[in-house]
């Protein structure tokens, strides 16, 4: 919600569209948590990320301020959402909750550091260049391959 509001206020134009996308994402996330529906979490996070991306696009080229916080916010929201789903089926005992909370905080700080580093690295080569784009395409294709492999594994496990 914070990411959505930040994106809305920071947008140079199309603020209502940014807000609508963000609110849809937030509503989907609420629905996913209320109905313990893991599938809707991805849609919700994509909605929030799209809202923030649209806001960034309205502000022209280059990473806008607050990108690091938005990225960490989306990441922490995703972690908390999946953790909540686990709690719906089997609640953690006290010690485990404390450990997981500490782990989540650590991952949040790690994400903060990572995104800042990535942005700094990208900032050195704003145009990207052929090598960076090739790496990006390879990563995207690789991820799609992972999706296919996992989907197949899940299908076989269910069968």
């Amino acid at each position: 919600m914070a990411v959505t509001l930040y994106g809305t206020f920071a947008a140079d134009r199309l603020a209502l569209l940014v807000l609508a996308l963000g609110l849809t994402g937030a509503a989907l996330l609420t629905y996913a948590l209320a109905t313990v529906n893991a599938g809707s979490i991805v849609s919700a996070l994509v909605g929030v990320a799209a809202s923030w991306s649209l806001s960034a696009w309205t502000r022209g080229t280059g990473a806008p301020g607050g990108t690091v916080l938005a990225a960490v916010g989306i990441f922490v929201a995703a972690e908390l959402a999946y953790w909540s789903l686990e709690q719906a089926s089997v609640p953690d005992e006290g010690e485990l909750v404390a450990r997981r909370a500490a782990g989540l905080a650590l991952r949040g700080f790690g994400a903060l550091f990572l995104v800042a580093c990535v942005l700094a690295a990208l900032g050195l080569r704003p145009g990207g260049g052929l090598i960076l784009e090739t790496v990006g395409v390879a990563a995207a294709v690789g991820l799609l391959a992972i999706v296919l492999v996992l989907a197949r594994a899940v299908y076989e496990a269910e069968r």
């Binding site: 990225a71 686990e86 609640p91 996992l150």
Partner: protein
Amino acid sequence: MSDVVRYATPKLGGYVVLTALGLLASLIFARPELAAVSAPFAVVLAIGLAVSRRPDVRVYVDVDRDRLLEDEEVVLEIELDARDSAPRLELLVEVPSGLELVSGANPVALRLGFGEERRLELRFRCTHWGAPRLGDLHLRAGDAAGLLVWEETLERGSVLRVYPRPEELRQLVGPRETQLFTGNRVSRAKGEGLEFADLRQFVPGDRIRRINWRASARRGELWVNEFHAERNADVILFLDSFVDARRSDRGTLDEAVRAAATLTERYLLEKDRVGLVNFGGVLNWLRPGTGLVQRYRIVEALLNTEITLSYAWKEIDVLPRGTLPPKALVLALTPLLDDRAIGALLDLRARGFDLVIVEVSPLPYAETPPGELGELAFRLWKLRRDGRRLQYERAGAPVVEWREGEPLTSVLEGVNASRRHARARA
């Protein structure tokens, strides 16, 4: 033990999709910050999958006892020995019907460090008689990042024997005829015993201690006391398990089994021989016997009693010879709902068996159907039941109705009263 199944969690799928979409969008829209947004997800995936491995946890399960009475508690001890760390281990104990959790968490999610041992105690209360299997576990272990899960079912259960809690009984239904073996019942026949029966003239061979000196002094010749012999009886518990009337976790069969267990215990204490005929979709029988072994045999047979749907017509002839000894008291526990059991009981009476019917009333489990016609049908059904009772009573077999919540002892006293009246009328 079943195989370990590994599968990806929704989180893994979600993170892959988010990473892929972020990178693709970054390429398509030429916005490098989108790649930065998806970077934490990609890193969690990469590191999480790289370090992910199946947690090695040994599980030992034990119950503190395997024979208990209804309403007693049993403790299930689960010992977990982690040979490798388990960041999140979910443990679910299958709770069979007839048991309810009193203390302890089920399911539970915990963390086990490397070499850590944990002992969990779950306390269950036995709410219903039967032979439930307790101790089968479902284990689900997740990796540190929550991306992969290993699931396993451990069949470590033990079969518990939950015996029906015996009811307090003040008196039992006495048989009309006794058998030849020594017991606690006063026989009509004369012989060795304690209960005085009559006086008769002394004959050579009589014991001196039997001489009634007062009667002998009055009559001027020797008279001796005669006593009633103390014999045992054969009691056959006839359990009608064709159908039962049931509401949630209570039914006529439950009541009948409880009563049968109580009667078995009490008749065996009286040194009677007790047998069992489980007359239903599946026919079971136990020839009459005495002692503790017979008691356990009967109770074990009762624990396995269940309603098995069958349309096959059965008559009492299907029972093997010797199951129903002559002069036995047949104590039937029946809801009087199935014509096969009703016919078999009439047949037993026609063959001269001393028959007593305890009707486990299905009325508390029945509801009047809605509407005028429903009410009429319900009244007709009750009238038909009354007619059946009358049919048995005309045949010389008393029928007493046992309603839910009523103590069994008062029902048996009702039987004794009706038998006394019947003798008085005769």
